[in-house]
Symmetry: C2
Subunit: 595 residues, 2 copies
């Protein structure tokens, strides 16, 4: 028996009991007459007391330990693993920050279960360990309360999700991981087959086709919390493997799906954070771009984009007159920004990631006067019209970007988020969910000039837009929806195609030849001919869901037990790594790196 209790459960009600605890030496303090050790496990910290036999005699107390043991205790270092037996007693000075803060254990016997080297970084919430070091010793990093609690809370989120979906009759059905490579969208990770040399499985980017087959099979409501894989060129906080809450429903329309999963999100936030929401607002994709410049608007603050193209043009200022779009945001209370501040913002939008040509500002002083960076071209009366169009009030700083529509909107969107940060408008205690609806079905592929599916090629479209297939495919609206919280895309879904001819039309539109799609997707096309019901679904990025729900941060790595770094490496295991020649030969493969 290695313990009778954990380090988190003893209280004053246990006083007098003989107990055995096991755990890690968290902190120790030698006070001469006695040594205190804070013993830590997953559940908490309990104070152990060892009385110095020599001093105990002096002070009239009787120590329960021998001098030998007492001397051993002095040698216990941080993170040593020990088992201690003794009596629970009331502390002379209680610690209100600990659940066990009223008691301590007067130790009678001790066993060293394992020693520990000194950890390479401190195991406190605020650690001195850098990212690389923490990842290399992730098993130590995970001992820190803050990281440990992220993962325990992740489990709580999963429990809440399962509780809700189980309750709604969703069946958790496991789908295969060794599937078929269908190189559309992102790249697949592949798995060479040894038994069928020269052939490969692929790891799923999502169980998309399987969940649709389960609908064809009549499972009606399906979910899975499931690992997915995407071989993307990595960027910050992208993981090659990630977890998805994957859901699908049959005999539903968009409204049914939105309501069901709005309910799920509410349930999880209530259970995990005790946060309650009203009905989630909804916005079309077109409006999201128009007012926020972005299909995942952070609606915690109401700095909106206003198009002022018509108002601004015609004053012989080339930058404006030659622009496809002129847009403005009014920043409340910022009319007194200094030259340095406006210069910073100009540099911000000119960064290559954003790519605006420049930034025009208009200071709308509290006294109503207007001064701008383009006074050469525009009179105060002209600028007043801008201010009105931008719904600015005296005291505001109006920021204007002109250029092509896409870049200018993106620049204004980034600018509003940056100003939201600077003005403290993106409050961590505030959650603003939003459904974004009516995404375009297709978007132009810059490289090929063809069309690609905005969501994925299994997404259905609005009947009334069908005629655009012949005239203007970019205008077709999909039955697709995203759930956004605080500017972060939490989930994405759609009502699917369930008809073979429509599915073939979609494949053709995105440039797949009949031969190609019949090779890759025969199984799903065939399935649609055997009584496929109308169906639709949604998938939530589970890592992100946890990060947002628990911490209101979009930093998923802190919610993954063993994440990869930005180069896709696990630096603790040191992988990926090379294979032996024997392994390669068995697989019928040769490494041949292009020079």
């Amino acid at each position: 028996m290695l313990r009778t209790h954990t380090c988190g459960e003893l209280t004053i009600n246990d006083a007098g009991k003989e107990v055995t605890l096991s755990g890690w030496v968290f902190r120790s303090r030698d006070q001469g007459g006695m040594i205190f050790i804070d013993l830590r496990d997953r559940y908490g910290v309990t104070q152990l007391v060892f009385l110095n036999p020599a001093k105990a005699v002096d002070s009239g107390q009787s120590s329960a330990v021998s001098q030998k043991l007492y001397d051993d205790v002095k040698t216990l270092g941080r993170e040593f693993v020990i088992k201690a037996t003794g009596k629970v007693q009331k502390r002379s000075k209680s610690n209100p920050n600990l659940s066990t803060g009223e008691i301590e254990i007067l130790v009678e016997s001790l066993e060293l279960l394992n020693a520990s080297k000194t950890p390479p970084f401190t195991l406190e919430d605020e650690t001195d360990g850098g990212d690389e070091l923490r990842m290399k010793y992730r098993y130590l990093d995970l001992r820190r309360d803050v990281v440990k609690n992220n993962l325990l809370n992740r489990h709580k989120v999963a429990q809440a999700i399962r509780e809700y979906l189980d309750g709604q009759g969703f069946a958790d059905v496991e789908t295969p991981f060794l599937i078929k490579s269908t190189p559309e969208g992102a790249r697949d990770f592949v798995v060479p087959s040894r038994v069928n040399q020269g052939e490969f499985y692929a790891l799923p980017q999502s169980p998309q086709t399987f969940k649709q087959l389960l609908m064809v099979a009549g499972f009606d409501r399906y979910y899975q919390i499931v690992r997915c894989f995407r071989d993307e060129d990595l960027r910050a906080d992208r993981q090659p493997e990630f977890t998805q809450i994957d859901c699908e429903m049959a005999f539903v329309e968009q409204e049914d799906v939105l309501n069901m999963f709005e309910g799920m999100v509410k349930h999880a936030f209530k259970k995990v954070r005790n946060i309650e929401f009203g009905a989630f607002p909804r916005m079309t994709f077109a409006d999201a771009l128009k007012y926020y410049g972005n299909d995942k608007p952070d609606t915690r603050f109401e700095i909106l984009l206003h198009e002022i193209t018509d108002v601004a043009k015609g004053k012989n200022f080339n930058v404006i007159d030659g622009a496809e779009y002129v847009g403005a945001i009014a920043v409340p209370g910022a009319s007194e920004y200094t030259r340095k501040q406006t210069d910073e913002l100009t540099e911000f939008v000119k960064r290559s990631q954003i790519g605006a040509k420049g930034l025009i500002y208009v200071k709308y002083a509290v006294d109503g006067t207007l001064k701008s960076s383009v006074d050469k071209f525009y009179t105060p009366e002209d600028l007043k019209k801008w201010a009105d169009a931008a719904e600015a009030k005296p005291g505001d700083l109006i920021l204007v970007v002109a250029g092509d529509l896409t870049t200018s909107r993106r620049a204004l969107s980034e600018l509003r988020l940056e100003l939201g940060n600077r003005l403290g408008l993106r409050d961590k205690n505030v959650y603003k969910p939003l459904w974004v609806l009516d995404f375009p079905l297709l978007e132009a592929d810059k490289d090929t000039g063809g069309w690609v599916a905005t969501h994925h090629p299994f997404t259905s479209w609005k009947k009334e837009d069908e005629h655009y297939f012949e005239t203007d495919p970019g205008k077709i609206r999909a039955n697709a929806y995203d759930l956004v919280i605080n500017g972060v895309e939490l989930s994405s879904g759609s009502i699917r195609i369930h008809d073979r001819s429509k599915q073939e039309k979609m494949f053709s539109t995105i440039g797949l030849s009949k031969e190609n799609y019949e090779k890759k997707f025969a199984f799903i096309l065939n399935a649609f001919e055997y009584g496929a019901p109308p169906h639709g679904g949604i998938a939530f990025g589970f890592d992100r869901f946890c990060s947002i729900c628990v911490a209101n941060e979009d930093y998923i790595r802190e919610f993954i037990a063993f994440p990869k770094n930005n180069a896709g490496r696990d630096i603790m295991m040191d992988t990926p790594s090379t294979l032996s020649d024997e392994q390669l030969k068995e697989l019928g493969l040769k490494v041949e790196i292009p020079k």
Copy 2:
């Protein structure tokens, strides 16, 4: 709105309600005056009635449907998907086999949601489809109640498992799928890295090292229902990917683990099947081999192996005198077996999979006389001694195998299972769980003459057997345990090594060089130096758990939604399959199949 109710929920209490149902045409019967359609969905079957407008007038009833619609109904084939609206009414003749058997829907309007080709096999519990066809059209096979219910019950098992483990404070922590190849034990599936050309990830055979790291990290109690991968040469009912209930606990001894997971199994059987167990019996590995010839005994019936070597030797019968081991089983009530029957049993043990040289029988007649196939060498008095040693009673058939220990025990084990089948002693309604304890730590590798880990190289051993490392490693008993039910191994586990030097000793014993194990396992060896607690765990084959718990059959494929066939292929998707040259080039790989 595609439905107001499912096909499984309407009862006589809903009579008079206007409802809309959607589902599949399961059966239809045209009775001239009316057409009945059994509409099916996941939840049940509801009868739809369409009155023939022509006949309705004749009979004085009024039909709710037009002649056009009525004619359309006649064209609806099996598995067409329809949406029907109408009124719930009492049936003239109720069907007690259906939850909806007292009502029917008098249909007023109908919408065809999707047509269906005729399924290539019948979708009844007893289908006419062969395995290959069922797998190719798995989405249709899954519509059959029996397969659908297997998977829905699988979800119930998972729920019960989670409920228990969540309640016991186990944390569900997700571990990575893209890990490091450590080619010990079975072969890894590998995943080439595109970003790091020439390097590979491996898919986990189990999260073994990660769960141990989580114990080092202080997670204390961990579980996961998780996919695992093993690139084995396939045999019947082996899947390259399978699901495991993976569990680990810190600060435990073997007894703690056994009790915890005995509780889990009891909870699951109670929840899913309403079956209750008493305390699970326990048996050592040595006794299991001695009495059952097998480390996973089917204890539903008590035909036991008895060694009669000493009793039988010394009568100048070479087969016996030259044997390492002579063993017998007494088959109750089989003394009258015919020559044909005993010949069959002889052929059975001589099959190459079993490999016994022959079978000796002794018929112990009800009248107490003894007759054997070796009467030339043994008198009735001799045979009586055999009978006593085999604990046989008059009326029994005594079957004797002689030869080397391993083969003979295996032959007797197979023989007792075969006779258990023939005598109807392996009752599907009976569950006999059994803990098998004290497995050997090491077994001899026939190919290399070295030692391999019986369980895995992270398993600890009994202190009192430590001295055998120097003298007779095969005698070291591990702190390892299996849970067996009805002769099927449901789970396997052990108390782990948590000390670097012991782990290194184990790696060396199984023939890994220091260079090799430090390359492959540096992370876990290092982790053991930073305060690793004592820990142990267990893993259950989840597919098998479901198969046994739900159906008391060891046939996992029927509990997997999309299984692979015996060649590791998914014949529905037609995978594994070849990659494009472009994909291979990106991965820095060339297919080079040895001739």
